[in-house]
């Protein structure tokens, strides 16, 4: 059976839901950022699949930009995690209740 666009979009949807599960169910900030990375990867897969289906390169260029934004986001997010671990001695998202300390 030939693999078509639908199969790729199905894998992409599953990957997105797995990442979303990580974002919702985990409490550790690092794991939440990891779930966000999985969700962005699912978006990348859909972009590449559509680029292949339409026969142009626009989707692959978009994946390039998504990766750059993901790199910037993760850099700042992990820096915030390091600061939180230093200040309140925890990376548990449930323990962050104060705006200043």
């Amino acid at each position: 059976m030939e693999i078509g666009l639908n199969h790729l979009l199905g894998v992409s949807a599953l990957l997105l839901i797995i990442g979303l599960m990580g974002v919702i169910c985990r409490r550790n900030i690092i794991m939440i950022l990891l779930g966000l990375e999985i969700m962005l990867a699912a978006g990348n897969l859909a972009f590449v699949a559509f680029a292949r289906a339409n026969g142009n390169l626009a989707g692959q260029i978009m994946v390039f930009f998504v990766m750059i934004v993901a790199a910037a986001e993760v850099t700042v997010g992990l820096a915030i995690a390091v600061v939180l671990a230093r200040k309140i001695r925890s990376v548990n998202a449930d323990e962050m209740r104060q705006l200043k300390w």
Partner: protein, 165 residues
Amino acid sequence: MIHPALFYSFSALTLLGALGAVAARHPMRAVLSLTVSLFGLSGLFVGLGAHFVAVIQILLYAGAILILFLFVVMLVESPETERMNIRNIWVKLLGIGFGAVLLRILWRVIGAGGEPPIAPHAVEGTVEAVGRELLTTYALPFEAASILLLVGIVGAIVLAKRKVT
């Protein structure tokens, strides 16, 4: 198009790696599991003709971002026994809602009669083709992305550095 056997094996690698990353108790195992998942995704990209994206995926994600994750996991002591947040009623409701949406999408995908048309001529995403597009049609977003990266670097340094006394 990608060979079915390759598609299913790489998809299984991607999805199982992602599941392992989400379900692993210790963050270190989760990051290593995500590496496996990203390698599978890279295989899918190669199968779709996106060679440049696949290489960038390995170099940038597996090579740079996950190393950053590993450093932070080792810097920050995580609780060994982190329990999943599934006792909360709102989390349950959200899970049921998103599960229903997923089932609906998959049902549409499987039940769809005809495959959507795929372009007959495969466009190979080689370094030359992607680079040419990136520096002509998409030159402005490309430069904006470099500014974003610079802002990210400066922000990370300002946030994470210790005060020199």
